[in-house]
Subunit: 183 residues, 2 copies
Amino acid sequence: MSTRLFSFVGGAAGAWRVLSTTAVKGEPLPAVSRLSVVADTPPAAGSGWVLRGVTSNERYVTRAEHDQLSAVSPPLGRPDAACAALIPIRKSAAWWLLSQDERREILADRSQHISVGQKYLPAIARRLHHCRDLDVASPFDFLTWFEFAPEHRQLFDDLAGALRATAEWNFVEREVDIRLQRE
Amino acid sequence: MSTRLFSFVGGAAGAWRVLSTTAVKGEPLPAVSRLSVVADTPPAAGSGWVLRGVTSNERYVTRAEHDQLSAVSPPLGRPDAACAALIPIRKSAAWWLLSQDERREILADRSQHISVGQKYLPAIARRLHHCRDLDVASPFDFLTWFEFAPEHRQLFDDLAGALRATAEWNFVEREVDIRLQRE
């Protein structure tokens, strides 16, 4: 097992209570009542689901951007960050056929993904997991996990809305938005 | 299983006869006599080994470089390409902590990886497999598979030597060079 592998287990148990599961684009995920985030690969919990992804090296940000982001990026697990969101996304085949400079141009220059994200720091903590290059084919390319305090719920909606309005999001063919509360 | 997953099975059977197995840097791989390349995940063959990797989207080349390379890149499986090489590589943690622009600068600008590779086309066919983001931790980050005709053996040695002399190769901490012949 990769030490960078995390599993998101949706079912009837887990530290996170599911508040809503919204199919933003494409096929929905079965609704579950609880979610746990674990650093290995457990069996699927009954009628639920398991989504898996690995943290990995950065794909797009420059050193200057990395340093700016790092300086204000909070860790996961802050005591007051009782809210979370899990957003699994699959991008289209057309996206993956683009070359590196074309993807960077759409993601950074046209969509401002990096600078938009930075505006929401340090309120919103984020960890990106990659699923596209797992051994076992995944229905998603990325799982992004966000944590924030209850008073930043609207801020998180703003962030999600801003990204969904970009040119980059034209390449998203499946997106589910799962909101959670720690209990 | 991912449809982009390939396994290199070293053991006593397979269409490729192993001519040599050289530990260029770091720990060697156990010597085997034959190798097969399969599009799934078979069990390890007795005392041999299985290395797995997925083909994936490009990480560094620009559209212009992609188009130049594509125009002269031969397919695998050419009848006269009876020679092959499998070169598993692991890069250092320091490499993976670099940002995208820093890795591109070392790989392309300082090491000319892309333009050096292009000089050996169309003689040498190549398929790159990624192992770093598999579910199951891999001892390597990349498996590169090369095919060429017997008269291009020296050319392939030149290519391998040119890449090993670059700044990029300072970040390689394990490399094995397996030469094969189709039988």
